[in-house]
């Protein structure tokens, strides 16, 4: 040991840089395999040839930029950013749970409870009495609270009774789905329009919707009816991600949460309340997932399908790959969630414009996630390479 080697500084000495690089490699690997799949598909389909496969691949890569004209591109970009919001927040939800040693597979249920709380409040407080902005805030906070409580339940079972959180999360997911369907069934919140009976009224019906500051107009197509959903919610979500990053990495609270996640026994030994921390972690995770739902419905132009007792919202589950790809780094989650949406948009463009179907983009995403699983291995390989190089440098001297 002893002698300190002091070679040139290299960014791969930094763990954060290493993990970002590993994610990039995962993405590249995913694309590569995805491309091969496209070529294989082309081989077995008479309508498509190799060049179509190359073309299709670039359409996916281009995401919304494969939309054709400038208006369409802006329109798709706006929707992409808006639709990234719930994904970003459920990703954050799963990530913070991962960081504290928990697997939050309960995000779909927390998402549903959040949507329910928000919708009820947004429709029940008359905006003739209370200013819409205030109603918006109360509705958002109510949604977050509902999700937090819903997340705290598996946290309680895990922390106090030692029951595996995955099992409880799955149960609470279905309980949430049934509660939401039951609460809304025959309620006054259901859309009265003949064709929309499956949905809850848009919050804009009560004059409640997220501020857009003209973003919806900026991100819009030329024709009147194609105005995108873009509002400020993506920026709210990014700010939340930064706050979570700061909490996890700069505060004593985050220090405790992570310590409990890494080693429950040592945290107990150090005098931390490990049971409380587990419950808190799950409550925060639940609140984040719910916040994603709240911001989505508060957009004011979204139809929330209330009959969910048979299906859980996919954005809840998709938080898992988002967190995985970001290696559970809150800032990374911002990028990975937008990135996955970007690929999705590319995929639907591909389906709309060519003979490929949109499942190809899903497949590529799945492959990328699969590669992300190797992230640890890639990082270790980098460390090994680096150590070897340092040694050579030393010998050279």
């Amino acid at each position: 040991m002893s002698k300190k080697t002091t070679p040139k500084k290299n960014i791969f000495d930094n763990a954060g840089a290493r993990s970002a690089f590993a994610s990039l490699i995962a993405i590249l690997g995913g694309f590569l395999v995805g491309f091969i799949v496209l070529v294989l598909l082309a081989l077995f389909n008479e309508n498509i040839d190799f060049f179509d496969a190359v073309d299709g691949f670039f359409r996916i890569l281009a995401g919304p930029f494969s939309a054709g004209n400038k208006d369409n591109i802006l329109f798709q970009l706006g929707n992409m950013l808006f639709n990234s919001t719930p994904l970003l927040l459920t990703g954050l939800s799963v990530a913070i749970a991962f960081k504290t040693g928990l697997f939050n597979i309960g995000a779909p249920g927390q998402y549903l409870m959040g949507a329910m709380g928000t919708l009820i409040v947004a429709h029940s407080i008359p905006t003739t009495v209370v200013p819409p902005a205030i109603v918006w805030i109360i509705a958002l906070l109510t949604g977050i609270l509902c999700g937090a409580i819903w997340g705290a339940i598996p946290g309680f079972f895990k922390g106090v009774l030692g029951v595996n959180e995955v099992i409880v999360c799955i149960m609470t997911n279905w309980i949430a789905a049934n509660i939401v369907s039951w609460v809304f069934k025959d309620s006054v919140f259901i859309n009265v329009a003949e064709t929309k009976m499956n949905f809850i009224k848009k919050t804009s019906a009560n004059g409640v919707s997220t501020a857009t500051f003209g973003l919806d107009k900026f991100f819009s197509g030329s024709s009147q009816y194609s105005r995108s959903y873009m509002d400020i919610s993506i920026f709210i979500a990014i700010i939340i991600a930064i706050v979570i990053f700061i909490i996890l990495n700069k505060t004593t609270f985050g220090y405790e949460l992570k310590a409990c996640g890494y080693n429950k026994n040592a945290s107990k030994y150090a005098g931390m309340n490990e049971k409380r921390n587990i419950i808190l972690s799950m409550a925060i995770a639940g609140g984040l997932a719910a916040c994603g739902a709240a911001l989505w419905v508060l957009n004011g132009n979204q139809d929330f399908k209330w009959e969910v007792y048979q299906s859980l919202p996919s954005d809840g589950f998709n938080g898992i790959p988002v967190a995985l790809l970001a290696n559970s780094n809150p800032i990374g989650v911002v990028f990975s969630s937008i990135f996955l949406r970007y690929i999705n948009v590319g995929g639907s463009n591909l389906a709309a414009q060519t003979d490929f179907n949109e499942y190809v983009s899903q497949l590529i995403i799945a492959i990328i996630i699969y590669f992300a699983g190797f992230s640890r291995y890639i990082q270790e390989a980098m460390i090994r390479l680096r150590a070897g190089r340092k040694n050579k440098e030393k010998e050279g001297k």
Binding site: M1, S2, K3, K4, T5, D13, K250, T251, T252, F253, Y255, E256, K258, A259, Y262, N263, N265, A266, S267, K268, Y269, A270, G271, M272, N273, I383, R384, R386, A387, G388, K390, N391
Partner: protein
């Protein structure tokens, strides 16, 4: 493998260099193992012993150097290769599957099958034969989680023998054993060597080296210092080679001047999780400022549970604990930590460290919320760094990257030193130290022992739990012997000897006082 054993050495490791971020763990090390010898490997904490053995076992690839078996260069890419060449290893921290039986653990990876079905019958026969042949007493059907560390270790040894390994690596096998088990292990090792097995043996205990080893190689700070024949050397010479100076084995200390009581335990009982009896039964004692009270006893007689009950890691079923006159029986661990209690825990990986935290994060594990280290809930990273650097320097904690080194990557002994530094430096009136020198090198032990005596002289009350009689005799001002959850005797180290303590520890004698206490109930 060829039958021409043309070399005197079964294994030669030549010019091995292994680099980790910020540190050269092995710097051009050459080690030669003779056939049928017990070869000890000695060196300070972090000297690179475990790393060198991991290279031989195929866990790490060296940047430079070659390995020869029977005079021929071989390439060991992974533990399977090592196994192929007959190399087996018992790691510093065991690698057994807790929920498997002993037999299953032994055959794991080389399960005998017929038509794809397990045929454990023959395996069992073979294991029983081996265990008889080498005196390795195990119960093949017991679950690993329920057996003693000693038996876990014998399981690890059987694992190697079952695979017909002939080069056996033991990484600090005795650190977790009781003195009795150590004697047994020494006997086993001698037997193995007689059967022609070649053994590499890492230990910090010079007595063990003197007792069983034929030769000893010494490493210091990643470098090879030399190899000596044990019959031509002494403990003093070995320790000198290892740390580069003379080491004292006996602590200088004056008579204790006990003052007021800092810890008073009254009729403490802790129920067992597995059986009906109390694991800690009606234990009462006091620790005063300025004295070292040591609890002696064979591992598993309730010492761990007693300490856990006092510190708050385990529930107390009845009885009281007073810390500096304050009844803390039902107080939180945080309260005790901030009201005068320091605790060096028995299990450094389970309780002592958050292995995925850096060294500096571990240094402030109980103090991150102090005014000194946070303001308005934000951690003062500069203050933490500065404090960690101070402690690292003061306690000579060695690691690759200083304060930012991940605790997991540190050598076992340096992990222990980090805990010691943290607990000794916190403000405290009572120091509870369980096996504080487990896994430390002689130089570090000398230092820690001095620190413990210094704490005592500064008015701290020390409760020392140790399974090592030497340490107890060396440090204690009073000895309490624990047997089956009860304190069976109080002894004065100056007036007693190892034999007498041994009798108490074995439950052969019990003090009247202890008996009297019991009937009070």
């Amino acid at each position: 493998m060829g039958d021409i054993k043309n070399s005197e050495y079964v294994i030669e490791m030549r010019n091995i260099t292994k680099v980790f971020p910020g540190i050269i763990a092995n710097d051009d090390i050459t080690l030669k193992l003779k056939r049928g010898e017990i070869h000890a490997l000695l060196g300070e904490n972090g000297a690179g012993k475990s790393t060198l053995m991991s290279v031989l076992f195929g866990l790490y690839q060296p940047e430079k150097g070659e390995i020869l078996k029977d005079g021929e260069v071989i390439k060991i890419n992974n533990p399977n290769d090592a196994n192929k060449y007959g190399i087996g290893m018992v790691h510093q921290h065991f690698k057994l599957v807790d929920v498997f039986s002993v037999l299953d653990n032994i055959i794991l990876g080389v399960e005998p099958t017929r038509f794809g079905f397990l045929t454990k019958k023959e395996a069992r026969k073979r294991v029983l034969e081996l265990s008889k042949e080498y005196g390795l007493n195990v119960d093949p059907d017991a679950m690993v989680e329920n057996i003693t560390v000693g038996m876990q270790q014998r399981t690890e040894i059987l694992k190697m023998l079952y695979r017909n390994n002939e080069i056996l690596i033991f990484d600090e096998p005795t650190a977790v054993l009781t003195p009795q088990e150590i004697d047994e292990l020494m006997e086993i090792m001698r037997g193995l060597a007689k059967e022609g097995k070649s053994i590499l043996f890492i230990t910090h205990k010079l007595n063990e080296i003197m007792a069983v080893a034929d030769r000893c190689s010494v490493l210091r700070k990643g470098k090879y210092i030399g190899t000596v024949d044990i019959k031509d050397t002494t403990k003093e010479e070995l320790s000198n080679m290892m740390v580069g100076r003379d080491v004292k084995f006996v602590v200088d200390k004056e008579d204790a001047k006990p003052e007021d009581v800092v810890l008073e335990v009254k009729k403490l009982c802790v129920k067992s999780h597995t059986h009906k009896k109390n694991v800690v039964n009606n234990v009462s004692f006091k620790v005063r400022r300025g004295e070292i009270v040591s609890i002696a006893g064979i591992d598993g007689n309730g010492q761990s549970e007693l300490v856990h009950a006092i510190t708050g890691l385990e529930r107390i079923d009845s009885g009281t604990v007073e810390l500096v006159g304050d009844d803390v029986t039902h107080k939180s661990i945080r309260y005790k930590n901030t009201h005068g209690m320091s605790h060096v825990p028995e299990d450094r990986h389970k309780h002592g460290l958050v292995l995925d935290y850096s060294l500096e994060q571990n240094i402030v594990l109980q103090r991150y919320f102090d005014k000194e280290f946070q303001s308005h809930g934000f951690i003062k990273f500069d203050a933490v760094r500065k404090y960690a650097e101070d402690l690292i320097e003061q306690y000579d904690v060695r690691s690759g990257q200083g304060p930012v080194t991940m605790a997991r990557s540190m050598s076992g002994g340096n992990q222990q030193k980090a805990i010691i530094a943290r607990e000794f430096d916190r403000e405290h009136d009572l120091l509870i130290a369980v096996q504080p020198t487990r896994g430390l090198d002689v130089g570090a032990i000398e230092y820690i022992h001095k620190q413990i005596v210094k704490s005592r002289d500064n008015g701290v009350g020390v409760l020392l739990v140790s399974f090592e009689l030497d340490e107890v005799m060396n440090l204690a001002d009073r000895i309490l012997v624990m047997y089956e959850g009860e304190i069976v005797g109080e002894l004065d180290p100056k007036k007693t000897n190892a034999q007498e303590i041994g009798l108490y520890m074995a439950g052969a004698i019990k003090n009247n006082k202890a008996e009297g206490d019991k009937t009070n109930e």
